[in-house]
Amino acid sequence: MSRYLSYIAPLLTFAILLILWEFLVILNKIPLYILPAPSDIISSLMLNYLDLFSSAFITLRITLLAFFIASSLAIFLAILFSQSRIVELSIYPIAVIFQVTPVVAIAPLILIWVGFDNAEYAILILATIVAFFPVLANANLGIKSVNKNLHELFSLYGAGRYQRLTKLQIPFALPFILTGMKTSIGLSLIGTVVAEFVAGSGTSTGLAWRIIEAGNRLDIAKLFAALILLVILGIFLFLLISYIEKLILRKWHDSSII
């Protein structure tokens, strides 16, 4: 019962909102270039599905690639930190500097460095920077959270660094890492879109470009259609990571971990 409710309640609320929206637009005769009704958005989506979906695919590809690079790099660094305190002390602050710098502020610089012809690379780099930190922070925390008794258990049997890392620290940190990844996948998408905006028209053809283009032409229905695709993409990516998390942690999550 409550399981179905958790699906039905939000869907129902959403459907009611859509219907309200539709009627408000029709009743108040709001013009299409201010606020299109949901039905207009859907027809625009069907009309433009070729550009929109190919743009969504471009955005998705960069998002996934940035997410993958960011996660791998972050996990690698967290492992490195766990092996050497000096490395951690030296590098962590740099990671924090990247984290607190607004991506928009460094975008022009990156664009100049990689060249405007390679805007896609610039977008990838920017999205990676945005997505990187949550995984690093969580992986680092996870590895540090290993219970003292567990470390002592490993010491008792003379475990070496490598055994400790692979049989204790990494598995222990896994739920933390996955939590970081759930934040990071969303940030990766946001980073990609923001970077696409900054990179500007003509250089990239992701969803942000479709939004700019539709806005310039006052095609608000198409703008909304692109926006909706973006939201769907975000939800899909989040669910994907959640699903992977569930698969991996199926047997041993929550209660048993702390």
Binding site: N147, N149, L150, E152, L153, F154, S155, L156, Y157, G158, A159, Q163, K167, L168, P171, L174, K251, W252, H253, D254, S255, S256, I257
Partner: protein
């Protein structure tokens, strides 16, 4: 088995010692004392997990015995099923083979967990986890078993069962047991010898050889009751002096 000589352990403040004690091979020794008196520290020192600030620890024939350690919480790895948890010591010491698998299965059977080999820790009760932990400590065939308040989180019935299981394991395997507990009755019931630590820094207040003539119904005897009373009085007096 184990001789501790003038052992002192300090962290920021002194927490234990000086302690002078010899643990005889194949004996069952309990350590009791108030919270913070240094009981866990004592076990960690004896196992070599931490090193003393001063004094010396020597082992029989100068060979560090194989040890099993049962921590207060069962310290199972939640991502491993029961059999893989029990196999961990063999894996870490690179002795993982069909023999160790067989031994693990045997030990799980001995602690009453036959059929649970493939369960994960979060599918087990507290008592079952503790049994896995004991099996894991035993599977390497250790000579010295150290237990840090292993049964304190368990219900009375399970605890009694595990106590008797532990006694049986001790008797049939010719091992030495160092057992930390809060419970005076448990210490007297289980051990041949009870060491009482003062509140921190812990020193030995009393070192009592337990007399038990008949084994069954030991708890009903006046010997049992008077020894429990004796130790309880020592702890109470120590508590008052704080």
């Amino acid at each position: 088995m184990l001789i501790l000589k003038d052992i002192i352990k300090n962290y920021e403040v002194p927490v234990l010692g000086p302690i002078d004690v010899e643990i005889k091979s194949k004996s069952f020794v309990s350590i009791i004392g108030a919270s913070g008196s240094g009981k866990s520290t004592f076990l960690r020192l004896a196992s070599g997990l931490i090193s003393q600030s001063s004094g010396s620890i020597s082992y029989k024939n100068n060979i560090k015995p194989k040890m099993g350690f049962v921590f207060q919480d069962s310290t199972l790895l939640p991502w491993r099923n029961v059999i893989d948890n029990v196999l961990l010591p063999s894996e870490l010491t690179k002795q993982n083979n069909s023999e160790s698998i067989e031994k693990s299965i045997n030990w799980l059977e001995r602690v009453g967990l036959k059929g649970k080999e493939n369960s994960f820790p979060n599918e087990l009760s507290g008592g079952q986890k503790m049994r896995v932990s004991i099996a894991r400590a035993m599977v390497q065939g250790g000579d010295l078993l150290l237990l840090d308040e292993p049964f304190s989180a368990l219900d009375e019935v399970t605890r009694r069962k595990l106590e008797d299981d532990l006694l049986e394991i001790w008797e049939t395997n010719n091992i030495t047991v160092l057992f930390v507990t809060h419970s005076v009755t448990q210490a007297v019931y289980l051990s041949q010898r009870v060491i009482v630590l003062s509140s921190g820094p812990g020193i030995i207040l009393e070192d009592l050889a337990i007399e038990k003539n008949l084994k069954d119904d030991f708890e009903e005897t006046s010997e049992f009751i008077s020894q429990v009373r004796h130790l309880t009085n020592i702890l109470k007096k120590e508590g008052r002096e704080l």
